[in-house]
């Protein structure tokens, strides 16, 4: 991690992203925020919680709140496939973002990022920190703070 951080500092305006795929769309999470990548197993449902909360699970002795990113992004659930999860930390608590697959780590220059297109779905725009143009595809930057922060302020709809 420290090496990565050094890289990050050294490269100045370029940022490393862990790429993930959710519903066919490529997303990028700043690598400094990603703690683990794991396979979510034996997730315990939490009744009455917000619909995006997939449940809680035990990750090496810590209780992690798993968030179903497909539901968060209003995508249909993934059928019959192994899901992956990215472990992040927010306000000293552990969360797991349940996604489809994890891709490679990309180092991108921050000046190749563009703001969200104005016609982007409002629900996506609220958690997207911008878009990177890659060869043949676009990568949406996931803004973790906004992604999770919004879930605290939003009135929790009982499931």
């Amino acid at each position: 991690m420290s090496v990565l951080e050094d890289n990050f500092k050294a490269s100045g305006d370029s940022i490393q992203y862990v790429t993930v795929v959710i519903g066919g769309q490529l997303f990028g999470l700043p690598i400094s925020q990603v703690h683990d990548v794991f396979v979510p197993e034996s997730v315990t449902r939490v009744p009455l919680s917000a619909p995006e909360v997939a449940g809680v699970l035990n990750l090496r002795g810590r209780i992690v709140t798993a968030i179903d990113m497909r539901r968060r992004l209003h995508l249909p659930p993934l059928k019959e496939a192994q899901m992956m999860a990215v472990g992040i930390e927010y306000k000293h608590e552990s969360y797991g973002l349940v996604i489809d697959t994890v891709g490679e780590v990309l180092t991108l220059s921050s000046n190749s990022a563009e703001p969200n297109p104005s016609n982007l779905d409002k629900r996506w725009a609220e958690i997207s920190g911008g878009v990177h143009r890659l060869d043949g595809k676009l990568m949406v930057i996931l803004d973790v703070d906004r992604l999770l922060g919004a879930m605290f302020t939003e009135p929790m709809a009982a499931a």
Partner: protein, 927 residues
């Protein structure tokens, strides 16, 4: 804020708490030099440290207070005002410290000159008292700094020792010794110069200079270096060197890690258990033992004597005692009883509040106490002890006890109960009202208590940590509050249950019992409307399915379960609420470590936390309080308070729950059958030979007329020899004999027809004497004897669905007429008065007709009917009057009031006919 300052604040706060306690003690025994010495030393250290840290305000106050205490040491008489003043200064110091902490080390602005000058004035007074009003004031007028230094050596010099007062020298020596010790620590050996001087100095000669030099100079140096050790010494004495200060966070972290270790060990043990001959077995056993010991050890670090929570109480009681002008003694038993730090914090405030309460409204004024033959001095006793996995704390006073009448009055006032309800309650039940929100019996609001935010808050605080509070009070003898709390919150024993395929943990503390229900066992789920209830030892327990509560009921799945009535009921008690939670399965109990939920989930009141089980999976822990409050909103009508009264009301509102006499018999089949006794005219036995056959049916000659015999099942035959028992039903000169095999019994039971019947002649089945019994529909058999009897058949169809509200204050008539109406096919709900009936109607229960008595207390039938007619909802509802008094005038009065018909009470067929009339009229109008 730097560490030094933070440490200073923590330590000073602790010291001040000690000073509080010591000062109160000191006031009681002004000659106890050890106490004074202790106080003096603590205040002195505070002063010194403040000076060192550059906190002039604190230093000023501490200094002035120290000066005054110096006077005491010099032999000035200890007065109550003086002690109060010092206590006030201590409070002021605490306030400043609080601000200091909040402001991250910045001493708050403020002016303490008033307090300081008061202290100085008091010192002056003390001097005056000591020196007989001579030169002393001059000394007191001096700069505080100087006066202190000058005053120091004054001790014991101004006057000869009083007889028995050996202490001052000792005291001084002790004082010096501590200082020397400090100095030693600082590596700055201070000459023991003052010591001999003080001890040997003859009474009259003050020797200010050398002493002040000695004291003043080394002070900063010594304090600088001896800061920490010094601090440790002051609070603990000799023990201090054996203990260290550890941040709570560190301990918490350690605790969590140990918990993890325990859980991991459990997992390992589980694995090894599956592999018989594992070489891991022995080492794992050792690991297991070590882990257990480690857990115990870490748990012990969290344990603190309850005395810590009591520390502030002597001071509070002292202040109260003065303010209220009641002498009060505070007795503390079992202060070294240990409990979890977290729990300790939580009960501090409730305890303080209860002690205040006891002092304020519990204990009487001295005059009243004398009159009652008690000593002037009231006693408040705090006792703590272990009992099972709980700690019991008792707050007891020997005062006047709770005033039942006052509580009643207040309860009425607040609308918490009606007079009738109160009359039925026991004293203990009435006492419980003081735990109701906003309840205070203190006639006047004093500064001490009586603001009405008291006991309910106390109870809530205690319940939050899974405790209970109970109350015993004997008028004239005193009252005691008994708090029962768990030893620790960290590890909870829970019951693991399953609902809709998910597992949940329910804290065992709130689980009263488990009931296994099966449709064919004695415990069955019954229903009132759609609300499931369980009959458990003569009590009705409201039920809720955990799946419904949590909104995880899978379509069909749990419905099935509830319908088939199989499963387990976890009977839970939260406060005074008892209810049953239906679960699909119960696994086992497990000790778990509660972990807080992620803040994203903290809004879920249904869970108190989550944890990792031995098998590594995460489980949600149910919060009993959340369930209880959800229960209340989920099915408010089904929640019963524990009191019998509340249940009574429910029972009355529940249709047909009052007991009636039933005649049990057997006929045609071995199963018991029943018929309301009030319908049976006579039980007869006839010689078989008397039964004649004519016109294709069996008849007997009975009282000069032919009585047709009817059999339960068509084609049944009477006995061939001996006597034939039968039930005789008579009405308007006609009789019918129902042939039975055997008359079994007459019982008083609630006729609660639980399973309706499609079969002709059977109204349905009910539990009578713990057996399923068929309730006979007489309406089917009567026309078999005489076809025009009531014209029953056509009525059946309409009547079966009609709901009738029957209002009568006399239980006799309710019992008599309810079965009549029921037998006529009406669904009857009874009420014992007009008010009750209006409540039932108001609650939204729908009725097709109301039958009401006229002569009733409170509100009579006429008024009741008028009230109904005023309400647009009930304007067109048929209302029948029922009265034992039938006069043309009363019938006219009834018509004016809005009754549709007026029937004599004993005219049973008339009632049935009148009901039939109003319904057929209604049908006609509708058609």
């Amino acid at each position: 804020m730097d560490d030094l300052l933070r440490e200073f604040i923590t330590e000073t706060n602790e010291s001040l708490d000690v000073v509080d306690v010591e000062l109160v003690k000191f006031e009681q025994e002004p000659n106890n030099a050890t106490i004074l010495d202790n106080i003096f030393r603590l205040v002195h250290t505070i002063k010194g440290t403040c000076g060192f840290l550059g906190l002039p305000r604190l230093e000023g106050i501490a200094h002035a207070a120290e000066t005054l205490m110096g006077k005491f040491r010099d032999g000035a008489p200890v007065t109550q005002e003086a002690v109060s003043l010092i206590l006030r200064s201590i409070d002021q110091i605490k306030d400043i410290l609080g601000d200091l902490e909040a402001a991250e080390g910045q001493e708050p602005e403020g002016d303490d000159s008033e307090l300081i000058s008061e202290l100085e004035a008091m010192s002056a007074k003390a001097d005056a008292a000591m020196a007989g009003g001579g030169a002393a004031p001059a000394a007191a007028e001096k700069e505080p700094e100087e006066s202190a230094d000058i005053d120091l050596p004054d001790q014991s010099l101004d006057r000869p020792l009083r007889p028995g007062e050996v202490s001052l020298d000792e005291l001084e020596r002790a004082f010096r010794e501590t200082e020397v010790e400090m100095d030693g620590d600082a590596g700055d050996a201070v000459a023991e110069a003052p010591e001999p001087e003080v001890v040997e100095a003859p009474a009259p000669a003050p020797a200010p200079k050398p002493a002040s030099a000695v004291v003043k100079k080394p002070a900063p140096a010594k304090e600088e270096a001896a800061e920490k050790k010094d601090a440790e010494k002051k609070s603990g004495g000799s023990v201090s060197s054996q203990s260290i200060r550890v941040a709570v966070d560190t301990l918490e972290h350690l605790m969590t890690m140990v918990s993890e270790l325990v859980l991991t060990r459990n997992q390992l043990l589980e694995i090894v258990r599956r592999h018989e001959d594992s070489e891991f077995k022995v080492p794992l056993q050792r690991l297991s033992n070590v882990t257990a010991e480690l857990q115990e050890g870490v748990m012990a670090t969290r344990m603190q004597p309850i005395g810590n929570a009591w520390q502030k109480l002597p001071r509070i009681v002292r202040d109260l005692s003065q303010e209220l002008e009641k002498p009060i003694e505070l007795e503390m038993i079992g202060a070294d009883t240990e409990l979890d730090r977290q729990v300790l914090e939580m009960i501090k405030d409730p305890l303080t509040h209860m002690v205040r309460n006891s002092a304020d409204h519990g204990l009487e004024m001295p005059a009243a106490r004398r009159a009652a033959g008690k000593p002037d001095k009231g006693t408040i006793t705090l006792a703590a002890y272990h009992e099972g996995g709980h700690i019991i704390i008792e707050v007891r006073d020997d005062g006047k006890g709770l005033d039942v009448d006052k509580i009643k009055e207040k309860a009425l006032d607040r609308g918490l109960a009606t007079e009738a309800e109160l009359d039925k309650m026991s004293d203990a039940q009435i006492h419980k009202f003081i735990f109701a929100a906003g309840f205070s019996t203190a006639a006047a609001i004093t500064s001490v208590s009586g603001r009405g935010v008291g006991m309910d808050v106390v109870r809530n605080n205690i319940e939050v940590i899974g405790g209970t509070v109970d109350l015993r009070s004997v008028a004239g003898k005193g009252s005691s509050f008994i708090i029962k709390i768990p030893l620790t919150l960290a590890i909870v024993s829970t019951l693991i249950v399953e609902a809709s395929g998910d597992r949940f943990a329910i804290p065992q503390l709130s689980v009263v019992e488990l009931v296994r229900v099966q449709s064919n066992s004695e415990h069955r789920i019954e229903r009132i409307k759609d609300t499931p209830v369980l009959r458990l030892r003569n009590k009705l327990l409201p039920l809720v399915h955990l799946s419904h509560l949590l909104g995880i009921a899978e379509e069909g799945h749990t419905e099935d379960n509830i319908e088939t009535d199989n499963g387990f009921i976890v009977v839970m008690q939260v406060g005074s609420q008892t209810f049953g939670v239906v679960v699909d399965g119960v696994f086992h109990t497990e000790e778990i470590v509660v972990k807080p939920m992620s803040s994203m989930l903290r809004n879920l009141t249904m869970f108190s936390g989550n944890t990792i089980l031995g098998d590594g999976s995460v489980i949600m822990i149910i919060d009993p309080n959340g369930v209880a409050s959800a229960m209340a909103s989920h099915a408010s009508s089904a929640v019963t308070e524990q009191s019998e009264e509340a249940e009574e009301i429910h029972r009355k509102a529940d249709s047909s729950q009052s007991a009636i006499s039933l005649l049990l018999f057997r006929a045609g089949a071995p199963e018991p059958k029943a018929v309301p006794l009030s319908l049976v005219t006579r039980l007869e036995e006839f010689e078989v030979s008397k039964i004649e056959r004519s016109n294709g049916r069996d008849l007997v000659q009975y009282r000069g007329a032919l009585m047709p015999l009817v059999y339960i099942n068509e084609g049944d035959h009477h006995k061939t020899e001996g006597t034939q028992p039968m039930l005789v039903f008579s009405d308007s000169g006609r009789s019918m004999g129902l042939v039975v095999d055997e008359i079994v019994d007459i019982v008083e039971e609630r006729m609660n027809i639980e399973v309706g019947s499609e079969r002709l002649g059977v109204l349905g089945s009910a539990i009578i004497k713990e057996r399923a019994t068929e309730i006979i529909d007489l309406g089917y058999y009567l026309p078999q004897a005489f076809e025009d009897w009531f014209m029953r058949k056509e009525m059946d169809i309409q009547a079966l669905t009609k709901k009738v509200l029957f209002v009568d204050d006399s239980s006799f008539f309710r019992n008599m007429l309810t079965p009549v109406l029921k037998a006529a096919g009406y669904d009857v709900t009874t009420c014992n008065g007009a008010k009750h009936a209006l409540e039932v109607l108001e609650d939204g229960y729908k009725f097709h007709a109301v039958v009401s008595d006229i002569e009733m207390p409170e509100m009579n039938g006429f008024e009741f009917c008028e009230a109904l007619r005023r309400d647009p909802r009930f304007r067109h509802m048929p209302v029948l009057a029922l009265s034992s008094l039938i006069t043309p005038a009363s019938i006219e009065r009834g018509r004016q009031a809005g009754f549709d018909d007026y029937v004599a009470k004993f005219d049973r067929p008339g009632l049935i006919a009148a009901l039939k009339d109003v319904f057929s009229g209604e049908m006609g109008a509708a058609a």
